[in-house]
């Protein structure tokens, strides 16, 4: 699967942002708002949480 843009949501502060997601090479996620690593990938196809 190719890298694609997807939405992320921080579970610590609730901040949502868009970023690239590569299923073959998962990288460390950091919330740009609060620096937490508890960042969840949201489903891009359903528009909701995966």
């Amino acid at each position: 699967m190719a890298p694609r843009e997807t939405k992320f949501k921080c579970l610590m502060c609730g901040h949502e942002y868009a970023g690239m997601y590569d299923p073959q090479n998962v990288t460390e996620r950091t919330c740009p708002n609060c620096r937490s690593s508890s960042v969840r990938r949201m489903s891009e196809s359903k528009g909701g949480e995966e």
Partner: protein, 602 residues
């Protein structure tokens, strides 16, 4: 073996099987005397890569004068063609008849006990620093090009001349940190280590070859640490080299004289200065080799965020790779000079010889084992293993996966991912961890923060917080696993089922992972668990993931304080709903037949 590439590496410490592609060189190196008659008649002229394109080579050539063996090689990509033969002049003049147009690549298999990776580095291409005019102005060159021009064996036989008019320049500028210590999105954020002293050496060479030449060095900081380096720097200053603290913002060429005018803010005086120089040298930084990723995959290595190969431990095992039996030396690990590379190579050779001389190795006490009764041959465990330590199962022949104990490092990612619970981790068995969860939640579960912490980073981060006497809430209850990759989703749901309001999973930062890429599985698994929590009507933010390093005691304490606040927001009704939902889910799961391999999400 020269002119060869490693194609594949299989096996484990003491038993590596390496497949090497020995490229066809079309010249028999045992017969070739290096007489150069073939090159004289070759009609193809190409830029000489070794001389940085300042001179040309032929299609049949010796890559560089010190090449071993000192025999010619035919560059078939640029030869006029041998099928059908289009030229053939080289073969005609070769007295030894050592040119063979039908030569083929050969695959050679060898068995080795240990491997040392010393694949080196590349240099940064400064073309994206457009303000320096490297692609526009002939007299702007890189430090690598400087090396060739000043070298007696170079294209100008050591005469340092301007490319525009072949005259010896009277004034030369050096711009430091090109592609290094950059935070503006161009280049790399790290210091390339060698450029400062390389420039100091270059200025001394210039002063030695051309007394009276004016050399100006534009720099941020001169990093002259190391034995004798400060003396060398001072000598350069005494020779009259000007060191100007400031990086030029613009370089403009005078179209008539081809001189270069640099605009720079001298941060020592605070003044804007203009310097007209006849030639400019860009001290380009170093970067990981472009094929580092290939090496990484071949040897199951991990890389840091800057792309260099990561060592097993920066202080205690600086030349060991995380995979047993593999060692690293030189710039594959980080930018370094010749002395450090030689030191590291010596250390790697010594470490390797310890293993080879012993003839045997100790295996980890904490390794995985397969429960043949439960395994359904899905093969997921072998895909998960960062060390390729699991020989895959075969559903057709009912062959169970085999865990190579010598290669297993004990991260436990396979045990956590196995949908059949068919992998058992010695000393970190499911029952042992579940028992810890139960013990934590035995009393007053609604006020306990169940925290899974990896042995190497987060657990040590907690220790760091403790030894620094940092305050954090007493609700925190730690369960140590070797890696966050070991944290099975059933541990988390078991905690929620027993009434835990919050669960924290913490591990190493990706670049610090002691198990190559096991943390990637933690991240993937957490995404799946959060989705499942949604389906069950459990708030996803009751499960938190944090990467905390051993040095981040402050962060550990801060996260605990934040989670204490979050914990208060979880109501008793919510906890009861969670416990009920999970009990129902468990009952459904027991009624359902086990998942088949095809249904397993990778």
């Amino acid at each position: 073996m020269t002119y060869s590439e490693v194609e594949a590496v299989a096996g484990f410490v003491g038993n590596f099987h390496v497949t090497i592609r020995q490229k066809a060189r079309y010249v028999d190196p045992n017969q070739c005397t290096g007489c150069a008659e073939c090159a004289k008649v070759c009609p193809v002229a190409l830029p000489d890569e070794y001389q940085q394109g300042f001179s040309s080579r032929k299609a049949i050539y010796i890559p560089f004068p010190q090449a071993v063996p000192s025999a010619y090689v035919l560059d078939m990509n640029h030869c006029l063609g041998n099928f059908p033969l289009a030229c053939g002049k080289c073969a005609e003049v070769c007295e030894k008849k050592c040119i063979n147009y039908d030569d083929q690549d050969k695959l050679v298999n060898i068995e080795v006990g240990v491997i040392i990776a010393a694949t080196g580095m590349d240099v940064y291409d400064p073309t994206e620093y457009d303000e320096y005019g490297y692609t526009r102005y002939e007299n702007v060159i890189t430090s690598m090009e400087f090396e060739r021009l000043i070298c007696a064996g170079g294209p100008t036989e050591g005469h340092f001349i301007r490319p525009s008019d072949s005259k010896i320049p009277k004034s030369i500028g050096f711009i430091q940190c090109v592609g290094s210590r950059s935070r503006d999105g161009r280049g790399n954020p790290y210091c390339s280590n060698i450029c400062c002293m390389n420039t100091v050496k270059d200025t001394l060479l210039l002063c030695d070859h051309y007394p009276g030449v004016q050399a100006n060095v534009f720099y941020m900081d001169i990093r002259a640490f190391g034995k004798g380096f400060e003396d060398l720097f001072m000598r350069s200053k005494e020779e009259g080299v000007k060191y100007i603290r400031g990086i030029p913002g613009e370089v403009v060429e005078n179209p008539q004289s081809k001189n270069l005018v640099l605009t720079v803010e001298n941060t020592t005086t605070g003044k804007l200065e203009k310097h007209e120089l006849e030639m400019l040298v860009l001290a380009q930084g170093v970067i990981p080799r472009q094929d580092n990723d290939v090496v990484r995959k071949l040897l199951t290595l991990s890389t840091t965020s800057d792309g260099f190969v990561m060592e097993s431990h920066p202080k205690l095992k600086p030349v060991d790779a995380p995979t047993k039996g593999i060692f690293i030396a030189g710039c594959v690990e980080s930018p370094k000079d010749v002395k450090d590379s030689v030191t590291q190579a010596g250390a790697a050779a010594a470490r390797a010889s310890i293993l080879l001389n012993a003839g045997k190795t100790k295996v980890e006490a904490i390794t995985s084992q397969v429960d043949g009764e439960r395994c359904n041959f899905c093969g997921l465990c072998s895909q998960v293993c960062p060390y390729n330590a699991i020989m895959s199962a075969d559903r057709k022949t009912k062959k169970l996966p085999v865990i190579i104990q010598a290669a297993c490092a004990g991260c436990g990612a396979c045990a956590a991912e196995c949908p059949q619970d068919a992998i058992l981790m010695r000393h970190f068995r499911d029952e042992q961890i579940m028992a810890q969860v139960e013990a934590i939640l035995e009393k007053d579960p609604h006020n306990q923060l169940v925290t899974f912490a990896c042995n190497w980073c987060s657990y040590a981060g907690g220790d760091n917080a403790g030894t620094a006497r940092l305050q954090y809430p007493t609700t925190c209850r730690l369960i140590r696993t070797m890696c966050s990759g070991r944290v099975d989703q059933k541990f988390i749901f078991h905690a929620f089922k027993l009434g835990a309001p919050m669960v924290l999973v913490s591990g190493c930062h990706f670049s610090d992972c002691h198990y190559i890429s096991a943390v990637q599985w933690t991240q993937k698994r957490m995404d799946r668990i959060w989705s499942k929590m949604d389906r069950l009507g459990i708030r996803a933010d009751r499960l938190i993931l944090e990467w905390i390093s051993a040095a981040e005691g402050q962060k550990f304490a801060r996260v605990m304080r934040q989670l204490e606040e979050k914990l208060k927001s979880v109501t008793k009704a919510e906890i009861e709903h969670t416990m009920k939902a999970l009990s129902e889910e468990e009952a459904k799961g027991k009624a359902k037949k086990p998942k088949k391999a095809a249904e397993v999400e990778v």
